[in-house]
Amino acid sequence: MTLEFLDHAFMQRALIAAALIGVIAPAVGIYLVQRRQAIMGDGIGHVALAGVALGFLLSADPVWMAVLVATLGAVAMELIRAHGKTHGDIALAMLFYGGMSGGVLLINLSDDGSNAQLLSYLFGSITTVSEDDVIVISVLAGLVMAVTLGLRRQLFAVCQDEEFARVTGLPVRLLNLTLAVTAAVTVTVAMRVVGLLLVSALMVIPVAAAQQLTRAFASTLVIAVAIGVTVTLSGTVSTYYVDAPSGATIVVLAIGVFLVVTAIATPLAARRARRAEAERPDERLPTLPSVTPKGDLPV
């Protein structure tokens, strides 16, 4: 049978987890990309490692500790962003490297943690997803979907033009924090499948591929989620036949989709631009020459 992998319970669990993550990672990622914060998922991944390690050290559940620490890290990143300090990027770098190095240090200090476990969190190990993991992943993924789809108009407005969104009276600070927490939850949910180092790729690449085909935010979201689910499912199935880590396989597939879409879309976009140009004779009118004085007022 070509679908014999479905007979195995571990593969069923892996595929459920993979499909959920294929949906939620691009659904959160699209807002980060829109706001040109594509790298934020990466940062949260680094910080989440410290949470995993803390879980080992305190003999607590590593996933829940990762959720907690990643949430704190994401809120800190959002506060640094919102206050727009000149050295905000340095502060973010400190947070990223501190999380990663602290995580590695703590794992080595703990009795339970081994390098093999560290690798499974860094790069994903989907076939070890347990029944309890599937329940936790489902609940958290449901929360992420509720936020990213239910609040999509509000989050779109905030990521598109934050100042305008504030003047509409939206609770912008609350929405920003909600998005940060949602991103943190997504990272920790996805770490079992693609790993903390590659989770950001699954948030960004499907969106980057989709937006080459679309003109609308809504269709970008739909296509990005479709690409996300396709690569997580096909990547997971391929690990059944090939002994390769799930995270790396999924991300390589995503990059492959991105390259194919780019190859198809680039000539299409060029043709569309030429046609649009031809249809808009009114746009050829000259703009006003810029003769506005730059200096101070004449007195």
């Binding site: 040109r36 108009r153 305008f164 003047v167 935010f217 003769v291």
Partner: protein, 283 residues
Amino acid sequence: MTAPAGRSKQRPEPRTTTPDSGAAHPPAVVSLRGATASLGGRPVLRGVDLTVHRGEVVALLGGNGSGKSTTIRAVVGQVPLTTGELELFGTPSRRFRQWRRIGYVPQRTTAASGVPATVREVVSTGRLSRTGLRPLGRADRAAVTWALELVGMANRADDSVNALSGGQHQRVLIARALASDPELLIMDEPMAGVDLASQQVLADTLRQRVAAGTTVLLVLHELGALESLIDRAVVLRDGLVVHEGAPPAATGPHALPGHDHVHPHATTEPGRTGFLDTWAGQP
């Protein structure tokens, strides 16, 4: 799109005194008193008084760094006041929640958004001041279409905003502000980088909204195509109001595009105020 029939805008009677001294004025929709504000530790507003009455079209003029944009951003709550008072529609700004009454057009940034979005999607965000967290209803969608038609962009509704020219993009931002059918329109340099065709569309749109009773407060670098609409010009310099009155009539070189109407006017200018004397006396 043709200009809708509206009232032909009459030049208002010259206001010879400060705006809030006349008892005949309609109520103030914006009232800023003694406003000071700093950006990055540098004082930008140093005691600005600004009152906009219902139905008025007020232009803030001034050179770069004069504080005109900061004044507008303070009015919409985006720059905190260090001292002074701000009232919107008679409510102290702290307690003001009726954002649907205000349509805001921030200064246009040229940076394209990371993810594509259609003209309709962007204009729809203007309804959020009315919908909040509830989904868009039929009336909301109709209002978005109405706003798109006002600025002549209905035929581009499904195009990506990234594919628009500067002037078209500005029309979209104004449609976004109009989508909530606001009573007060606040605009920061709406004509900057806008081609002549779009300038004409924007002027017609504004004329139509003003005829319908909308109050307008806008920052301009030059009066240009909007000249005939402006009731009152407020000139800022170094964070202070230095002149306030009816805008000068455009004649000769003044009427040329790009001419900055911010010089001292002849002392016989009917719209001059006490501010002018102080101003003219400055080095």
